[in-house]
C-alpha cells in the first residue's frame, strides 16, 4: 500500500474504534440510572483543598456513633485518646478519660485472673461483640462492618454513607423483597440491606441543643466517620500547602538557573 493511502485508512480505523468505544457506555449508564439514583448532593466543611473538620459536628457525630451505631458496629482502629486535642474531636484529656471509663474491657490482673476493668484512653474502641462469630450470630448471620475505614472503603464515601442513612423507603410497587427479609434502601446496591433504618428524627438528644433531624444526624455522623477514616487530613492539607509553595518557588529558581546555564549555547 502506498503511504498516501495508509494514513487515511488507519485514521478511518481509529474513528471506527472510537465510535465503538463510545457506544456501549450509554446503555450501561442508562441501566445504572434506573437501578440506583444519583447520590444525594450534600456538602461538608472538610471538602476541598482547604477544608477542615467542624469540631462541633464531629462531637455530635460521635454522640450518634456512641448512642446508636456502636450497638452493632465496631471501630477497632481508633483509640479513645484519638478523640483528644485539636487533631481529634477537641475534647480535653479529662473528658476523654471519662468517655473511656464508661466502657469495660477484658484484661488480666497481676495474678493472671481474667477481669473486666474500665477502659483507659490508650485502649482501642471497645467493640459491641466479643468476636466476629458473635457479631454475625446476633445480626442474622453476617457481622456488621467495622466503621473505622468505612468512608475510605466506599466509592464517594461521605455521600454514599449519607445516602444509605437517609435512603430507607417503603419498597416500590412490584419490588420483590427476598424471603430472607431485609430492608429497602434507595442507594444500597441491589436495594436490599440487612441493616434496619438506624436513624430517625430525634434518635438522640444533642448535648449542644442542635435540632436532631434525620438529615442533621446523618450529616454529623458522616463528618465523624470521615474524620475517623482520615484523622490526619488537616495535617496533610496544611503540610501540602507548604510543600507545594516551596516547590513552586524552587521551580522558578531552577527555571532561571537553567535558562542562564543554556544562554551560551545555540539550541
Amino acid at each position: 500500500m502506498k503511504p498516501r493511502l495508509v494514513i487515511p485508512a488507519l485514521l478511518a480505523g481509529a474513528a471506527v474504534a472510537v465510535a465503538m468505544l463510545a457506544q456501549p457506555a450509554q446503555p450501561a449508564r442508562a441501566q445504572a440510572d434506573e437501578a440506583t439514583p444519583a447520590l444525594p448532593n450534600v456538602s461538608w466543611s472538610f471538602e476541598g483543598p482547604f477544608g477542615t473538620f467542624d469540631r462541633a459536628a464531629l462531637q455530635r457525630g460521635f454522640q450518634i456513633y456512641s448512642q446508636v451505631c456502636s450497638a452493632c458496629h465496631s471501630m477497632d482502629l481508633l483509640t479513645y485518646d484519638d478523640l483528644a486535642g485539636s487533631e481529634g474531636l477537641g475534647y480535653t484529656e479529662e473528658q476523654v478519660k471519662a468517655i473511656a471509663a464508661q466502657k469495660q474491657v477484658a484484661d488480666i490482673d497481676k495474678n493472671g485472673q481474667a477481669i473486666q476493668r474500665p477502659a483507659r484512653p490508650s485502649d482501642h474502641f471497645v467493640a459491641p461483640f466479643a468476636n466476629e462469630a458473635a457479631a454475625a450470630a446476633a445480626n442474622g448471620g453476617k457481622a456488621p462492618p467495622d466503621l473505622s475505614d468505612i468512608i475510605k472503603a466506599r466509592e464517594s464515601g461521605p455521600r454514599y454513607v449519607y445516602g444509605i442513612l437517609t435512603g430507607f423507603r417503603e419498597p416500590p410497587k412490584g419490588f420483590q423483597m427476598p424471603p430472607s427479609g431485609g430492608n429497602y434502601n434507595l442507594y444500597f446496591p441491589g436495594h436490599v440491606i440487612a441493616m434496619p433504618q438506624p436513624l430517625q428524627d430525634d434518635s438522640v438528644q444533642y448535648a449542644d441543643g442542635t435540632k436532631a433531624t434525620l438529615r442533621q444526624e446523618a450529616h454529623d455522623v458522616v463528618a465523624f466517620l470521615t474524620w475517623a477514616s482520615d484523622p490526619t487530613m488537616e495535617q496533610r492539607k496544611r503540610t501540602g500547602a507548604k510543600v507545594v509553595l516551596f516547590l513552586l518557588a524552587m521551580t522558578g529558581v531552577l527555571y532561571g538557573a537553567k535558562r542562564r546555564v543554556w544562554s551560551d549555547v545555540e539550541h
Binding site: 488507519l10 481509529a14 465503538m20 456501549p24 483543598p49 482502629l77 503540610t239 546555564v261
Partner: protein, 416 residues
C-alpha cells in the same frame, strides 16, 4: 589529570578513581544539544526508584507481614506513626507515578527509535526493568492485605495454573499452601523488598549501556563532532532538575490533596477469603495487559498473549526495519505510533470494565491491533515508507531552526 586542587580528593582519586569516573561521566560526557523535554523522563524514573526504595525501607520498619496483622499494621502506620501517612501515601502514589514516568520514557524511545543500533541492549535492559517493576508493584499491592490485595493475588497467581500438566503444582508452590495465605504474604514481602535492588542493578547496567554511545536525540542522527553536543553537567543536570521540580509539584498535589485518587476503595476492607469482591481489577498500570489476557477465550493462550505483549518489546529493534531512527522523518510510522498509544489507552479502558457486550469486541480488536502493530506494521512500514531526508548534522538543524524555519520544513524543501 587532576580532577581537583583539593589534596584529599587527589589522595583518594589516586587510589580509587571515583572522582575521575564522575568527571568523565558528567563533565566530559557529551550529550546532544537538541534533547527536548521528553528526555527528562529517564532521570525522573531514576529519582522515582530512589524515592520508592527510601520510603519503602521506612515502611518496612513498621509493617508486619503477617496475614493476621498486615492490614492493621498499615493502618497503624497511617494513624499512629509520626508522618506515617506521608511516607505511605508517597509510596502508594509513587508506584503510579513511577509507571507514568516509565511508560512515557518507553513511548519516547519508541517514537524516536532509541532502540536502534547501537542501542539494542540498552532498550532490552529497559524492558527487563519494566518487567521487574510489574512484578514488584504486583507484590507490593498484596502487602496491605485488603480485599483487592487478596483477590488480585489469587487471580494473578492462578494464571500459572494454565501451564499444562504442572500448572496446579506450580500454583501450590507459589502460594506455599492450598490458597493465598500467610506464607504467600511472607514471600511476597521478602521479594518485594529484594526486587527493587535487582531493578537498581539493572538500572546501573542500563546507564552503562547508555553511556557507551550516549543519548539518542529527537533527530535520531549521530553526533558528528563537538559542535553537536554539550557536556551533561551543567546543561542537562540543570534541565533535569527543573523538570524534576515541575514533576514534584504534580506528585505533591496528588499525595497531599488526592491521595486515594488512584486507589481502589475495596482495598480499605480487610482481606476476606470467604467473600469475593464484586469486581477484581489490578492497579491502572496493568489494566492494558489485563485486557489482553481477558480478550483471549483460551486461558493458556491468554496467559501467553499477556506475557507475549511484554516480551515482543524485546524484539522491537529487529522488528523495525527502517534505517531512520526518529519518527520525525517517517511520515507513515509517525501516525502509526500514535495509533499504538490510542490502542494502549483503549485497552486500559477495556481492562477496567467487565468483559461483557461490546467490551469483549473492543478488547479483541485492541489486542489484535497491538500485536499487528509490532509483527506486521513495524517491519512493513520500514520497508515501504519513504523517509524524509535527514539533516546533515545536529548543529546545522539547530541553527536552521533558530533561523526561523522548522527542521522538518527545511528538510522537506531539500527533497530532490
Amino acid at each position: 589529570m587532576a580532577v581537583s586542587q583539593n589534596k584529599l580528593v587527589q589522595w583518594i582519586d589516586r587510589r580509587l578513581p571515583v572522582f575521575t569516573y564522575l568527571d568523565h561521566e558528567l563533565n566530559e560526557y557529551p550529550t546532544p544539544k537538541n534533547l527536548n523535554y521528553w528526555w527528562n523522563f529517564g532521570s525522573l524514573a531514576g529519582v522515582m526508584l530512589v524515592i520508592m526504595i527510601a520510603t519503602g525501607i521506612f515502611l518496612a520498619m513498621q509493617y508486619d507481614p503477617n496475614a493476621g496483622d498486615a492490614f492493621q499494621s498499615v493502618e497503624r502506620i497511617m494513624r499512629e506513626v509520626n508522618y506515617g501517612w506521608l511516607i505511605r501515601y508517597i509510596h502508594m502514589n509513587g508506584a503510579s507515578f513511577f509507571f507514568i514516568v516509565v511508560y512515557i520514557h518507553l513511548f519516547r524511545g519508541l517514537y524516536y527509535g532509541s532502540y536502534k543500533a547501537p542501542r539494542e541492549l540498552l532498550w532490552m535492559l529497559g524492558v527487563v526493568i519494566v518487567l521487574l517493576m510489574m512484578a514488584t508493584a504486583f507484590m507490593g499491592y498484596v502487602l496491605p492485605w485488603g480485599q483487592m490485595s487478596f483477590w488480585g493475588a489469587t487471580v494473578i497467581t492462578n494464571l500459572f495454573s494454565a501451564i499444562p500438566g504442572v500448572g496446579k503444582d506450580i500454583v501450590t508452590w507459589l502460594w506455599g499452601g492450598f490458597a493465598v495465605g500467610n506464607p504467600t504474604l511472607n514471600r511476597f514481602f521478602a521479594l518485594h523488598y529484594l526486587l527493587p535492588f535487582v531493578i537498581l542493578g539493572v538500572v546501573i547496567l542500563h546507564i552503562l549501556a547508555l553511556h557507551q554511545h550516549g543519548s539518542n536525540n529527537p533527530l535520531g542522527i549521530d553526533r558528528k563532532g563537538p559542535q553537536d553536543s554539550v557536556p551533561f553537567h551543567p546543561y542537562y543536570t540543570y534541565k533535569d532538575m527543573f523538570g524534576l521540580s515541575v514533576f514534584l509539584i504534580v506528585f505533591a498535589i496528588v499525595v497531599f490533596y488526592f491521595p486515594n485518587l488512584l486507589a481502589e476503595p475495596q482495598n480499605y476492607i480487610p482481606a476476606n477469603p470467604m467473600q469475593t469482591p464484586p469486581e477484581i481489577v489490578p492497579d491502572w498500570y496493568l489494566l492494558s495487559f489485563y485486557a489482553i489476557l481477558r480478550s483471549i477465550p483460551n486461558k493458556l493462550l491468554g496467559v501467553c498473549a499477556l506475557f507475549g505483549a511484554i516480551f515482543i518489546l524485546f524484539l522491537v529493534p529487529w522488528l523495525d526495519t527502517s534505517k531512520v531512527r526518529s519518527a520525525y522523518f517517517r511520515p507513515v510510522y509517525k501516525w502509526v505510533f500514535w495509533l499504538l498509544v490510542i490502542d494502549a489507552f483503549v485497552l486500559g479502558d477495556v481492562g477496567a470494565h467487565r468483559p461483557e457486550g461490546w467490551w469483549i469486541v473492543i478488547g479483541r480488536i485492541g489486542t489484535f491491533y497491538y500485536f499487528f502493530h509490532f509483527i506486521v506494521l513495524m517491519p512493513f512500514i520500514g520497508w515501504f515508507e519513504r523517509p524524509l531526508p535527514l539533516p546533515p548534522s545536529i548543529a546545522e538543524a539547530v541553527l536552521k531552526k533558530r533561523g526561523g524555519a522548522p527542521v522538518g520544513a527545511a528538510a522537506t524543501r531539500a527533497k530532490p
